[in-house]
Amino acid sequence: MSDLNQKMVEKYKGNFLQEVINNVEEGETMKMCMQCGVCSGSCPLGPHWEYPPQHIFMLIRAGKRDEVLNTDSFWNCTSCYNCIARCPRGVQITHVMHGLARYQKVLGLAPKNQPTEKFSQLFWDNLVQKGRVNELKLGLSLYFMNGFGEGIKTALKNQKLGMAMMKAKRMNPAEMFGGHGVKDPAGFQKMVKKAHELEAARIAGEES
């Protein structure tokens, strides 16, 4: 168990709802959930969730911390915002799901080999490098995210698409070298780092 996770278990003594409210993005809004289940029924990937959003909320209330922090359910969120649009109680479901995924990660509990978790980290790393996303590099790193051999296979499989995209001038091989970005990537990275530090301090209870 990570130190932070251990610390949180001790801090909240089984009051998982409070832990979520304090540390998960828009977590406060889930208090008003009335268990109607519209969110679960509205989710395009609903059937793929081990615990659909309604159940996640119920588990949180029931204090089932392990169940919630060990599932990869919320990594199925496509950010379609159907749930938020339809929730009669204004629960910011999409954001809470994102927040739970992030929190799980911060606690060192992110599921191993979760494709969306991996991809989204690659995406963020790519973004932070230059301040903008380099689709070519992101695509390539995506292909290789499951190892070199797997990557070659994926790359070959997607070769046709890649060629077509280049032909349509929607993929630029020159992006491989340098590529576009903000003028001061180092400053950008410093800014992001500062934001991360502030957020970590808040979660750890070290208010700045």
């Binding site: 199925n76 963020w124 996303v133 929607r170 700045s208």
Partner: protein, 299 residues
């Protein structure tokens, strides 16, 4: 008098990026509608829909706050607009979140201080390009420059998610937004208003990580368009465009379907109706050629 806006292009709409056909056709369209877009200099990525994972809340809001702050400095009196729904959503969400949470605002400014930028708070909510068309230009205004009415063209208006939820266009419903249909009709095409997948999710960024699940969603979106006899699918979103267009051969392979339906941006459709050439409308940027639209453009 030209309408003038501060413009946030975003990563995928850059030249040579997956949505460059949107960028090109949008420029053409704006030209015809006398809309002037002043791109903000030195913008950064919005974090898109999966930025939450690596970025968390504060970093994600901070990077968008940087864009807004730059826009306000460079084009102080102009509305900030985006063509990409994700860019728009992230920007507008940042404005709201920082407005509602003073602690978050102060933290974001602490991070921004590292590069000497200050975010001063919400002035006017960021807007999406379609809001500009619907609200500032109006459907009559959209119809005005038409020189080649797109008669007989059946268009399934695929609004998708993020231009529609959670904010959407004022006056539209989340479940059955009509603005794309009205645009189609304004330029003389036939809008397939009953297209029931118009606001369904294409899988978004999960197309990269969860291809099978996402392609199952896309299959439904395409199938419904065929069911309604669509000649093409029209969308405002670069992610939707890419996801629905690029994987049709994969889907055909998996499901034994024979999908081959063009997926275009509304800016491409409007450009053609306004008399632009196929390349001005970036129709050469399609993976599946929108033949009927090309024919009209070449007429």
């Amino acid at each position: 008098m030209a309408h003038e806006y501060s413009f946030y292009p975003g990563c995928s709409s850059q030249k040579g990026a997956s949505g460059s056909n949107q960028m090109v056709s949008n420029e053409t369209m704006c030209d015809k509608l006398d809309i002037k877009l002043n791109a903000i200099d030195d913008w950064n990525c919005c974090g898109a829909s999966v930025g939450y994972s690596g970025g968390g809340e504060l970093a994600r809001l901070t990077i968008s706050a940087r864009n807004i702050a730059i826009s306000e400095k460079q084009h102080p009196d102009q509305d900030l607009i985006a063509t990409c729904p994700a860019c728009w959503l992230a920007t507008r969400e940042t404005q709201e979140r920082l407005h509602d949470d003073p602690q978050m605002m102060s933290d974001a400014n602490k991070a921004l201080a590292e590069i000497g930028v200050e975010y001063q708070g919400i002035k006017k909510p960021a807007r999406h390009m379609t809001e500009v068309l619907v609200e500032d230009i109006g459907f009559d205004g959209i119809a005005k420059p038409v020189t080649k009415p797109l008669e007989g063209l059946k268009i399934a208006g695929y609004v998708g998610c993020q231009s529609n939820r959670p904010y959407g266009i004022a006056g539209e419903s989340f479940e059955n937004p009509m603005y794309l249909d009205k645009m189609s009709e304004a330029v003389g095409a036939e809008a397939l208003t009953g297209y029931e997948k118009k606001a369904s999710c294409c899988g978004g960024a999960l197309m990269f990580s969860e291809q099978e699940k996402s392609q199952a969603l896309v299959k439904e979106i395409i199938e419904a368009a065929y069911d309604h006899g669509a000649d093409m699918i029209m969308t405002p979103c670069a992610m939707c465009q890419m996801n629905v267009e690029a994987y049709q051969s994969d889907i055909n392979e998996k499901y034994g379907t024979k999908f081959d339906i063009p997926v275009v941006f509304y800016s491409q459709v409007l450009s053609v109706a306004y008399g632009s050439t196929a390349s001005e409308a970036a129709l050469d940027g399609q993976l599946i050629a929108p033949k009927k639209l090309i024919d009209i453009a070449n007429k």
